[in-house]
Each structure stands twice: as structure tokens, then as C-alpha cells.
Assembly symmetry: C2
Homo-oligomer: 493 residues x 2
């Protein structure tokens, strides 16, 4: 790849194109031959694996286990929960046949009309229905509760306008589905998982989030309450990064899932579901990256350190290889992932820009002078700064540097959000300010009508009613009616 | 669950029913509401996670990376490789529509006839076609090779007769798809991955396997050569446990994937693919388990040790809890996974039979007398033997015991196979002996006709032409024609 091929459209010129350039050129993903479905390339998938491993550990620490439910959902199941079918019917991939046969008129194959399914199957857009139909057989008594199950899976929602990672017809995700004896326990689970997501976003993705509850019109189809974490991208738009739903008894009633409580009385079971998806990779990119490429937080980088030798001739290289060998071992011993790129068919300059594009947090370069002086050049991806550092104690230095980079990336995102979050009291001011790419804290009268009006006139939606922060009541900026607290408005992905 | 509910049909009475009883009662999997699709329950999924983690490490150690390709395959892609479409067309789930709408005549939803896809999509039965269509854009020059990619995914093959884990319409698997500049390199990759599978089967699943090549009629649809590992189940039937395919240039030609070699000449790329699936869980069960339940090799057991306290009153329990606490810590420090089950709503006897059913390799029981004597009762699942052991140095004792159990389970399976593998030279003897549940080493003339005749008359198939062992030529047991070496015949799952 020539240098110019790596160049990205600058963010200031076209943020959307910059994003797509970056996803493609950093080898994260690409569009496939199937409309709306992406290919997640090895480097992009490696980031997803890091996310999965960490989230899975956090789910297990909070008592959850994994299981796997069918890809297909009988069409009749979807209809059982009224809001649910309303929400998903319009974007369902439908399997109608189970066999192909040779085309009698041609060379290819056609669908065999004799192999029509009695009942059509939906490729799961989410699994509440098939799972609650299963739970009916798993739950008889309070002793069978709680059920704390998570599933890692692919899901399909036939979106008409797709964008790599952010909105695709097929995506990868996890979906937790829990069953509880009481409302209180289910509500506590909903909040617990919201907190797990927030912790993951902030500590691992280095991405500050606002925790809140969705307005009724933005709720998951079938939920009583939807909780969300909302993050600000660099263009000031919001990205919903994870949701946790309190489902009440809706699915238990739809699928007749009841349990005998301690007194032997039959009650419907209480439910939650919660999920994050490969969309998080899109969030990670848009939260931190720059015009030179990806900026990855060390905790999610496929490799945290890359080492590039700068040499003339095999003899020099052999000496550097030997020195690097020891360094790699000591870094690995500290749990740091390292790639040593001594491939001889690429020049150092090419490698530098390649690893910058790929967002490797720390790049070490070692040349003849470094060998003489027992030093190495250390370059940080987040600040694009370089310094020459002694090889003595370098492993500990790098370890601390990675922590510093992780913290710095978070701080940068936090400061951006702080600078671009404003409080507004008049709708006129709102309409003006929303154009600048900001989160606006404003009062709202709680009605869907006002929410819809704001959306139609400004393209801004209520991202959430925040759980933390200022809870002072006031008056709706649009109608002047009473408002319990300020809510977060923004344009969103 | 009452004791009797845990009882399994004995193997001697009905091996097939024993298997299904075990899968259901040990909470491994169950049939779902969707024909042929299973629900993998948490305990079954935990075994799959152990398998995945180990295989994934082995793939990465051999230089492979993971990626993800679309669930759907355009119908026209399947037709591009003639043998491939022939092999899979009859079992394809076909997506024809992308939307549902409210039924104007009823309460439910119907497929929206206006939302018909221009080209039908097949739910992947395997991904060679979509992947090779993608590789066309990834490969221009020899510098882009090799590509060493693996995918963890679900696939669908519309099987008419299904059995939990062994044959299901949807299953989970991994599929490696590699691209190489030369035939030799692709062949070496094919064999390397066969060896990885054999090592995994023997060292982790404790299941001896025969490595070999498939006869032409048992080849993967689209392969030049299919290599297999074949294992013997306790009823003497064979189970194909993993396959590695040398695909030649078939898919490169079908999808026009060429590269410029070092001289600038355009050549078609050489390919391999290889996979194992959740079928391995079925193999694991049938290879080792007994009439009391699962017998899991320690390396794949979700937890390796369970500790059950035997006590009267809270005071005694508190003392045992304290002692067990230290023991758990020291076991975990040695990398041993432990569950301490001090739940007070189940009796020790219930717990003993539960963990026997679940195949936990080692069970420790600690009661009042053990507390006095500083001992614990150690029960082995594989031999169903018990002994009283001092608590001093117990952690090391358990660690060694787990190794011993792993080795013993392997030895048992190895000895069974040795005892039930025979050499036969006459077809009459073959027909008699095959009824006994054995692997038969016999000469074969290499023709599909003879293979088909044997299959039709005895239900035995050629499992493989073994790579190792006796290579002496001889005469076909059926036709008397020349045979290059003995091959393995058996009835199979």
C-alpha cells in the first residue's frame, strides 16, 4: 500500500467519509456481496475479541452463564408480545423454504417450491421470544430462579440504510436474558448490567458515558423501561452504546411463564434483557481516532506495542534482533502484547504510518545509534510525541506509559464532552446551539408530542433522562409546562 | 429433581436412548420449538467454551487469525463450484423476504409479498463461497499470501433426521479458510490442521483418533482431498470428529482468485478449509460416559472439583466452610477450577448423584470426622472409587489426581478401541463381525462400486484410508482385485 493510499479524508472536511475511510484503510471491516452485511476483517475482529473477553469476564463475575438458543424464531412467536412484533416486523429476514434444486431451464439452482416451510422462520432480530418460550419449561418454582443467562450471537435486522459497524443488517452481539421472582430483583439486575456496561465503556473503551433511562418513544419494543449508556462522538453526536431493559412481566405473560412462590402461589416471572454489539467498535473509532488513523486505548488494542528496527545490512539487524528479543520477553512477562516487525520488504517509514493508521498505542524504533547508547525511540500514538528512552527499566516504563495513555485518551474524550455539553432554557437558543454539535441539557414536559416536535424541527432526540447529576425541576423549554429534571438532547447515530 | 428422574436408560439396553437421556438429564442441551435446532444449555455450553478456548489458542499458535463473514450467501454463489452446490443444495434454509406485515384478516403477522428479495439468500451451510468471493479482493500478489483465517460461527444444514449435538439443523463450529501460493504449502496446511485436531482430540478430549484420508465418495463437496479424524464410540460405531480439506484451486477458479507470483505471472490461488463443531460434545459424551452419567476429562470439565460439606447444624457448617475456604484458594492457585456446594436446600446424597450425572472429575466430601482427623473423602468419577486422604498437601494430590484421571480416561478409550479393532480378509467374515460393533481393517480395491456394495449390504462405510500403521498391499476382500493398503470400515454416526 503506497503512502497516499493510507490517507484519510480529514474529519473537518467530511466526518462521515473520514469514518468510512478509516474503517476500510485500517483493515477493520468492509461491505460484503450481501446488501447491508459486513465482513469483519482480522484486525477489526481482534478488537471485538478483546471486548468480548473483557465483557464475558464481567458477566461471569456478576453470576451469569452463557448458553445458545436457535437462530430461527417461528413467525407466530413474534406476534405474542404486541409491542415487540410492532417493533421488529418491518425488518425481518424470513426463511420460507428449506431446499434448492437444479433449474430445469438453466445451469444454476432455484428454490424448490415443494420444500416450503409450514410456518415461516424469522432470523432472530433479538431472542426474547424464543428464549421465553424455552424458559417456560425451565421454570416451575421459585427454586428455579433467578436464571442469569447470556448469549453471544449474530442477529439480523433488515436495515435499509447501513454503515459499517454502526448499523448493519447482520451484527454480532451479546444478549443477556434473566428471569427473576420479584420486580425488585429484576430492576436491580437491569441497573447492575447498566453499570457493568458503563464501567466497560469508561475503563476499557476510555469513553465517558451518561447513564439514563429512555423516554417512552425510544424504549425497546416490549420493555417497561429501557436504560442506556450514551457517549459523545467527536462530532458532538450521540451514540447509544449499550442498553439494559426491565421487561416487567410482559414476556412471561406472552409465553405463560409462571412459578410457584414460597407460599405455593403461581406468579408470572419478571424479566430483563441487555445487550451490546459490534456497534461498540464504531463508537471506539469515532470517540478517539484522528486524521492519521485509529487511536486505540491500550486495554483494547490487539497489540499494545510495536517494535520497528532501523538498520543497514543483516549484521546490524542481527544485533537489534538479539536486543529486541530480550525486550519482548520482559514486556510479555508484564502482560503487555508486543509485535516485532522486522519484515525486510517494507521500509521503516511505511511501517510507521501503517501502525499509526492501525492505532497501536506505543511504537518503539531501534537503530544503530540506539544500540550504541542503550536507548530506544518511544512514540505515543495518542499525542503523536516521541522521546528517546534508556533501555534500562524500559519494561516498567512502557507499562506505566500504557496506563498513562489509557487515562489520557479518556480525559481527552471527557474534556471534549464537557466542553460540548451545554445547558439551555429557551427553544430558540436550543435550535441555534444544536447545530454546533453539542449535548444539550434542557427541560422537557414529558410528553411524546413535545419530543416529536423537537425531533421534527431539529433532528435532535432525547438521548436519555440521566440518572445522575442535577435533578432540579423546571419548565419545559418548548411548552413551559412543568419538568421533573433536565434531559439530554442530541443528534445521534 | 428426585433421584429417579436422574436415572438413565442403561447403555446395554438402548445405547441411543441412553445418549439422549444423558444429554437431557445432565442439562447439556434440549430440542427447541424450531425443528432440528437445539438449545445448548449453560452446562453444555460451558464445555463448548472450554473446547473453543483451547482450539482457538492452538489455531493462533499456528499463525491463524479470526474474522467474520456474512451469515447469508447469495444463491448464485453456491452454483459457482459444481460439486459444492450438488452437495449442499438439498439442505439449504432459504431467505426469500425481508419484511412482515400485519395480517389484514387476522391478529398475527404475515410475510409481506412486496418485500421479496431480488435474489434469494442461503443461510450459510459452510462459507467457502462467500469467503472466496471476498478473497478475490484481498489477493493480488504473492505478498498477500498466505491468508490464514478462521471463523467461529453458526451454520445451518436442513437435516431431516436430527439428534442433539450429533446432527442438528443449526450447529456451532469453526471453519478455517486459508489461501496459499503453492500446492505444497496448501497441502502442508491441510495436514497441519489435521494434526491440530488429532492433538486436541487425544490430549484434551482424551479420545484416541485415527487420522486418514476419505474415499472419493465421502469427500467434502468441492474438495480435492478430505482428511479426517475418526473416533470409536463405546458401541463400536465411528464418529467423524473433524475434517481438513485440501481444496486445490477449485474455489479460486470458481471465484477467479488469482495472484501475481514473483515473476509476475498470474496463477490461481491454492486453498484449504477445516472445521470442527458442537458435534464434538456428542463425541465426548459417547466416548467416555457411563450409566451413572457423564464422565468428563478434567481438561474440558467446566469445573474439575466439587466440594460437598456433610454437617449437622450451622456451627459445624461454619467450621467446614472455614476449612474449605483455604482449600479452595490453594486449589485455584494451582489453576484448578472448584465449586463449593454448601447450598442447604439439597441433601448430600442428592448432590453426590447430581455431580456424578454431570461428570465432575473429582468430588470431595468433608464431614465432622474429617474435621477431627484433618482428612477429606476423595471420590473419582472415572473409576467411581473413594478414599480418605489427609488435608496436608491435598492441593498437589488433587492436581496429580486430575492428571491421572485424564490419562486413565484416555487409556480406557484406547483399550476399548484396541479390543474392538480387528483385521479381516474375507467378506463373509466381515459381514459377521461388523454386527459386533468393531472397526475392521480390510483390503479394498479402491472403487466406488465396491464401497457402495459394502455399504448397501452391511451399513458399514469406509471411515478413512489411514495415514499411519500397516501399509502392506493385498487383495480386496470383496472383489479380489489389488489393494494398496488396508482401510478402516465401520458403521458410523
Amino acid at each position: 500500500m503506497a503512502k497516499e493510499l493510507k490517507e484519510l479524508t480529514p474529519r473537518s472536511k467530511d466526518y462521515s467519509q473520514w469514518y468510512l475511510d478509516l474503517v476500510m484503510k485500517a483493515d477493520l471491516a468492509e461491505n460484503s456481496a450481501v446488501r447491508g452485511c459486513m465482513v469483519i476483517k482480522p484486525y477489526g475482529y481482534a478488537i471485538w475479541e478483546k471486548m468480548q473477553r473483557q465483557l464475558d469476564d464481567m458477566f461471569k463475575e456478576t453470576g451469569h452463564v452463557n448458553a445458545y438458543f436457535p437462530l430461527f424464531i417461528p413467525k407466530s412467536f413474534l406476534s405474542k408480545e404486541a409491542d415487540h412484533v410492532e417493533g421488529f416486523a418491518k425488518e425481518c429476514a424470513v426463511v420460507t423454504h428449506y431446499r434448492l434444486k437444479n433449474d430445469p431451464d438453466g445451469k444454476g439452482v432455484i428454490v424448490d417450491p415443494e420444500a416450503k416451510l409450514e410456518e415461516e422462520l424469522i432470523v432472530r432480530p433479538t431472542s426474547e421470544t424464543i428464549i421465553w418460550n424455552t424458559y417456560r419449561n425451565w421454570i416451575q418454582s421459585y427454586r428455579d430462579l433467578p436464571i442469569l443467562v447470556n448469549q453471544w450471537a449474530n442477529v439480523v435486522r433488515w436495515e435499509m440504510r447501513t454503515r459499517l459497524f454502526l448499523r448493519t443488517a447482520e451484527f454480532l452481539w451479546q444478549e443477556g436474558h434473566t428471569a427473576h421472582a420479584t420486580r425488585e430483583e429484576a430492576e436491580a439486575e437491569t441497573i447492575q448490567m447498566l453499570n457493568v456496561y458503563a464501567q466497560f465503556a469508561e475503563e476499557y473503551m476510555a469513553m465517558p458515558v451518561i447513564k439514563g433511562v429512555k423516554s417512552a418513544s425510544e424504549r425497546f419494543a416490549g420493555a417497561v423501561d429501557t436504560y442506556t449508556i450514551e457517549a459523545m462522538m467527536q462530532d458532538g453526536k450521540a451514540l447509544q452504546s449499550g442498553t439494559s431493559h426491565f421487561l416487567g412481566q410482559n414476556f412471561a405473560k406472552a409465553f405463560d411463564v409462571r412459578f410457584a412462590d414460597k407460599e405455593g402461589k403461581m406468579e408470572h416471572v419478571w424479566a430483563t434483557s441487555w445487550g451490546v454489539s459490534t456497534r461498540l467498535i464504531g463508537a471506539l473509532i469515532m470517540a478517539h481516532s484522528d486524521d492519521n488513523g485509529l487511536v486505540l486505548p491500550p486495554k483494547l488494542a490487539p497489540f499494545q506495542v510495536v517494535i520497528v528496527p532501523i538498520y543497514k545490512g543483516d549484521e546490524q539487524l542481527a544485533l537489534i534482533n538479539e536486543k529486541v528479543d530480550g525486550l519482548v520477553k520482559s514486556l510479555k512477562a508484564l502482560g503487555i502484547s508486543v509485535k516485532y516487525d522486522n519484515a525486510d520488504n517494507k521500509k521503516p517509514g511505511w511501517k510507521f504510518s501503517e501502525y499509526e493508521l492501525k492505532g497501536v498505542p506505543v511504537r518503539l524504533a531501534m537503530g544503530a545509534r540506539d544500540m550504541e547508547n542503550n536507548t530506544v525511540e518511544v512514540a505515543r500514538r495518542d499525542t503523536l510525541t516521541k522521546e528517546t528512552v534508556s533501555c534500562d527499566g524500559l519494561d516498567i516504563y512502557i507499562k506505566n506509559l500504557l496506563d498513562e495513555i489509557q487515562a489520557n485518551i479518556y480525559k481527552k474524550a471527557f474534556d471534549l464532552r464537557a466542553a460540548q455539553t451545554i445547558t439551555v432554557d429557551s427553544y430558540d437558543e436550543f435550535k441555534e446551539k444544536i447545530e454546533e454539535g453539542v449535548f444539550i441539557l434542557a427541560h422537557w414536559d414529558g410528553t411524546a408530542e413535545t419530543e416529536e416536535k423537537v425531533k421534527a424541527e431539529t433532528k435532535a432526540t432525547i438521548r436519555c433522562i440521566p440518572l445522575e447529576g442535577d435533578k432540579t425541576p423546571g419548565k419545559c423549554m418548548v411548552t413551559g409546562k412543568p419538568s421533573a429534571q433536565r434531559v439530554v438532547f442530541a443528534r445521534a447515530y
